[in-house]
């Protein structure tokens, strides 16, 4: 840019230099006795063409293209200003297309392209495993010790688990999000503390003094951001921890919100607590430079048998169910992105289609525009303008349009992105930072320039120089339109129709998906009348006492006015992923078998009644089952579990199971309906429900979620009453996770509804744009044929016949476009299969409805201009031109 200004200054100086020369020459001549007029004339003659001198001198500076470029832009600006309607509509269409593309791309950029804020993050992987059909098995301390000692492909590896912890102290007790990690965790990610130190190997030794690293936000909020916070003590879950460091403010870990990091202290090696066969921790690793995922997988596959031989089996000898156990390593990025990448790439693809439609529309305007200017261009060609010069000036116009459209599009994107993000709010991981950054700006610029160039080349390819000179000869008065010109327009109509059809089919399939999700029985009552509140009980040191408190709270809550029923569980439906485990089942006395891969939840009496899950057979668990040590422990199972394991719900009643070979027997007392625990679009898993009497409950979760059914949910004061009822039992218990079952239900469908909303918006835009395009093209074609129609009518053609002729010509490209679009949609829809539910990618009904809609609307938008032409008076028509 500075060279641009320098250039302008030099131009002024050159002018002054030439003027000085001229004046000196005149003065010399006048000194020799010539009159002023003669002197000036002679000096001018001697000087020659000033413009040429100027040009040549400038040429000596180099960089002539800058001048030419400036001239082309000025010329283009003038040309565009002269036709404001054309320019504005073009810019508007481009702004919408480019704006939508930019907004979606900034999401794609934030989520898919730069999701991990760590150095060399592509070397980070998640240590995930698979066994049989289950490909989402985490890691464990046994695997950690084995990999740490024997691996050849990792720079480092670490374990982590996430959870909540209650921090007590001088201030009110508070539940915080915590990560329990091995000491290599931060170095593996490549993150150092902003203040103090990270964990050392000593911090990770069993029995070592407890230490904690806090997040920058927690440090600011609770510790006043003071440097001397390092070394102070925090009471977490009743134990004193020494604060040793503060994380940088930018720290994020995949989708977890982190407030404190505590060190995991696994007892090392054989003889510790590590066993092969339980997988409670998640693992991450940093690959050595240059190591591929496949090489790391091979390395892990080699080490799994070592772990199997080194560590005692979890749950006794009978672990044949882990025979297929092996690696299923994933890039860590996949954990953030999850199933988002399908949605986003598909949205990106559809938005690309929308941009194409917008460009086709503008190209169409551009073609008409060029037709109207053919005479001007031909004259310029005849006067000796080179083809290159004409092409350059046309391209300058369209590129200018593209850039202005892009700038307007950026505005559209800036305004639209917050809307998009709030619509997607429940679905996008909130830890990601999505904004219009440098990458997005470059993307927008490239898209704008490309659309500008494409738009400019279209008329050029159609006409070329020979075309221009031919037109000049015909005087722009060709009697009827030539075949080639028809072909270009028809092609535009065909491609618009085809692309719009693809988008409409996508939206249609999403709508069907949404319908089938809605029609699925989730296994509970997704009612706004059911309130959920999560209560962490970690601050109650004694588990038995915590259970007492919980049952007291349940009693207290059910006394509240307007409350119909109250229950609680370790995790409510759609409330998150719980433990997946196995147990020994007794078919008949003496005959036990190990059954794996079912969901385990802990429930209170009345839970199923409250969430609205029907009891298929048997009875509900009761508080007597929990407290009466003389009675056998009771459990309930899901219908599908009973079906699979015992053949029928009735057969399950009275059967017994236990967690370990020598464990206590637990009797199945009831069977309840299947619940889609992990999402409506996921199958309802086989599930076993224990009571809080089972000792495992305290290790699985110290936070339980209460569900309260009442007509008063959502009314002011109701939550306060709940809170007071809880505090009247134990005032140290915080309330978190306040939702209704309905919210959880809607959130589980957020992906589908988000995709549906976006696709609906885009396909409506696409349909609108293509209808406008079709209307425009056909209207223009017909108006050019007004004379021909006049002649036909004058020669006695029948109106009905003419109407058929015109409509046929209108509909032919539409039908071709629909057929092409159907093929294209069928090919592309397969890619979107993973987003669909309860509908196939080739759903005939959707395709038929969309195709018919498109043909019908296209026929109408073509018929309107056709009718106008038919009404024309033949004598008028012949006089028009």
């Amino acid at each position: 840019m500075s060279s641009f200004f320098a250039r302008a200054r030099r131009k002024r100086e050159l002018d002054e230099e030439i003027r000085a020369h001229f004046e000196m020459a005149v003065r010399d001549r006048m000194a020799r006795g010539e009159s002023r007029r003669d002197a000036e004339r002679a000096a001018r003659l001697e000087f020659g063409n000033v413009d040429n001198v100027r040009e040549d001198a400038r040429a000596a500076w180099g960089g002539m293209w800058m001048d030419r470029f400036g001239r082309d832009i000025r010329f283009a600006l003038r040309a565009l200003r002269k036709r404001p309607a054309f320019s504005l509509s073009t810019i508007l269409i481009l702004a919408l297309g480019i704006g939508a593309t930019t907004a979606i791309f900034s999401v794609v950029n934030g989520v898919l392209i730069q999701p991990l804020p760590y150095p060399e993050s592509d070397r980070l992987i998640e240590l995930q495993h698979q066994n049989g059909g289950n490909d989402d098995i985490a890691a464990s301390t046994a695997l950690y010790f084995t990999y740490r000692e024997h691996n050849q492909t990792f720079d480092s590896l670490a374990l982590w688990t996430s959870g909540t912890a209650v921090v007590t102290g001088a201030q009110q007790s508070e539940e915080v999000q915590s990560l329990d990690v091995t000491h290599e965790f931060l170095p593996t990610l490549g993150v150092g503390p902003a203040l103090g130190r990270g964990f050392s190997e000593v911090d990770g030794q069993p029995g070592a003094p407890l230490t904690v690293v806090v997040s920058a936000a927690y440090w600011e909020r609770r510790l006043g951001g003071a440097e001397d916070a390092i070394g102070q003590s925090l009471v977490i879950e009743g134990e004193p921890y020494t604060i040793i460091g503060v994380l940088p403010a930018s720290f994020r870990f995949v989708t977890e919100q982190v407030e404190i990091l505590t060190p995991m202290q696994p007892a090392p090696g054989v003889g510790g607590t590590a066993m092969f066969g339980s997988f409670g921790e998640r693992g991450i690793a940093r690959l050595k430079p240059g190591v591929t995922l496949a090489e790391a997988s091979a390395d892990v596959a080699r080490m799994v048998p070592i772990a199997r031989e080194t560590f005692p089996p979890f749950g006794g000898d009978a672990r044949d169910d882990l025979n297929d156990f092996g690696p299923n390593l994933q890039p860590l990025k996949a954990r953030v992105v999850g199933d988002l990448d399908d949605v986003l790439w598909i949205l990106m693809g559809t938005i690309g289609l929308l941009l194409l439609i917008a460009c086709a529309n503008v190209a169409n305007l551009q073609l008409m525009r060029t037709d109207a200017r053919l005479e001007e261009l031909s004259i310029r060609a005849a006067l000796g303008a080179r083809f290159g010069a004409i092409a350059r000036s046309l391209l300058a116009e369209t590129v200018l349009l593209g850039v202005v459209g892009g700038a307007a599009g950026l505005l559209v994107a800036t305004l639209g992105l917050p809307l998009l993000l709030s619509a997607a709010g429940e679905y996008l991981p909130s830890v990601l930072e999505i904004s219009i950054d440098g990458t997005v700006l470059v993307f927008t610029l490239v898209v704008s320039l490309l659309s500008g160039l494409v738009l400019g080349f279209l008329p050029l390819m159609k006409h070329g120089l020979p075309g221009l000179t031919a037109t000049l000869r015909a005087g722009g008065r060709a009697f009827s339109q030539s075949r080639e010109r028809h072909r270009a327009r028809n092609l535009l109509v065909i491609s618009q129709v085809a692309l719009a059809l693809v988008l409409l089919v996508a939206a249609g399939l999403m709508m069907r998906t949404f319908q089938s999700l809605r029609s699925i029985d989730p296994g509970f009552d997704p009612s706004p009348q059911v309130q959920t509140v999560t209560i962490p009980t970690g601050s109650v040191p004694d588990f038995a006492r915590a259970v007492r408190s919980l049952s007291d709270i349940q009693g207290g809550l059910s006394q509240l006015p307007g409350v119909e029923s109250v229950g609680f569980a370790s995790m409510v439906p759609l409330g998150g992923i719980g433990p997946n485990t196995g147990a020994f089942i007794e078919d008949e006395p003496g005959a036990e078998r190990l059954v794996g891969n079912f969901e385990l939840r802990f429930v209170s009496p009345e839970l199923f009644e409250t969430v609205g899950t029907p009891r298929v057979t048997g009875r509900d668990v009761s508080w007597t089952d929990v407290y009466d040590a003389d009675r056998p422990e009771a459990a309930m199972v899901s219908e599908s579990f009973a079906q699979r394991q015992f053949g029928s719900p009735e057969a399950a009643l009275g059967k017994r199971m236990r967690r370990t070979p020598e464990g206590r027997w637990i009797e199945i007392v009831g069977v309840v309906g299947d619940i889609h625990l992990e999402g409506v679009d996921r199958p309802a898993p086989d599930t076993v429900y224990f009571t809080l009497r089972n000792e495992v409950a305290q290790y699985v979760s110290r936070a339980v979620t209460f569900v309260v059914r009442s007509q008063r949910v959502g009314t002011p004061g109701f939550l306060d009453e709940l809170q007071r009822a809880v505090w009247s039992v134990d005032s140290s218990l915080p309330l978190t996770g306040v939702h209704t079952l309905n919210e959880l239900y809607r959130r589980s469908m957020a992906r589908t509804s988000l995709t549906l909303v976006l696709l609906a918006i885009m396909s409506t835009m696409a349909l609108g744009l293509s209808l406008v395009g079709i209307y425009g093209v056909i209207g223009y074609l017909l108006s050019k044929r007004t004379r021909e129609m006049g002649v036909r009518i004058a020669l006695g053609a029948h109106y009905a016949g003419l109407k058929r002729l015109l409509l046929g010509q209108v509909l032919a490209p539409v039908v071709v476009g629909v057929l092409l679009g159907l093929g294209l949609a069928a090919a592309l829809a397969r890619a979107a299969q993973s987003l669909l539910f309860g509908v196939t990618a080739l759903d005939p009904a959707t395709y038929a409805v969309v195709a018919m809609t498109l043909v019908a609307t296209a026929a109408v938008s073509g018929y309107l201009p056709a009718r106008r032409v038919m009404r024309v008076d033949p004598t008028e028509a012949l006089r028009v031109e």
């Binding site: 002054e16 000085a20 020369h21 000196m24 001697e46 000087f47 040549d56 001198a57 400038r58 000596a60």
Partner: protein, 116 residues
């Protein structure tokens, strides 16, 4: 404009002429064109159309340097002066020119040329 007794200067020799002219001291475009006329007894004529492009070309090659100054007649003019690089270039061009003219003279004076 092309009087018969004036010789049009070839583009290639123009550089040499301009550099040589500036050896007498800094000068502006008009002054240079006048000096060339005077120094060649009016035989050589530099077209302004070639002079200014040549000046800007030489400036770009850093053989001459320009600055704005005021002439004796109180006219703001752009004055050019030789740079050290220009001086070196001048020496090189001169020796090439001398060799060329020597060669030309030989050719023209030779048996063939004698007839002219």
């Amino acid at each position: 404009m092309n009087q018969p007794d004036r010789i049009e200067v070839l583009q290639t020799t123009l550089d040499l002429i301009v550099l040589q002219t500036l050896r007498w001291g800094p000068n502006h475009g008009y002054g240079i064109s006048q000096l060339v006329g005077v120094n060649s007894d009016g035989r050589l004529h530099v077209k302004t159309g070639s002079l200014y492009p040549a000046l800007h070309r030489l400036e770009r090659k850093a053989w001459i340097q320009a600055r704005w100054t005021t002439s004796e007649q109180n006219q703001r003019v752009r004055e050019y002066r030789l740079t050290a690089a220009g001086r070196k270039q001048l020496a090189k061009e001169r020796s090439r020119w001398e060799q060329l003219s020597l060669a030309m003279a030989q050719i023209l004076a030779g048996p063939e040329g004698g007839r002219a």
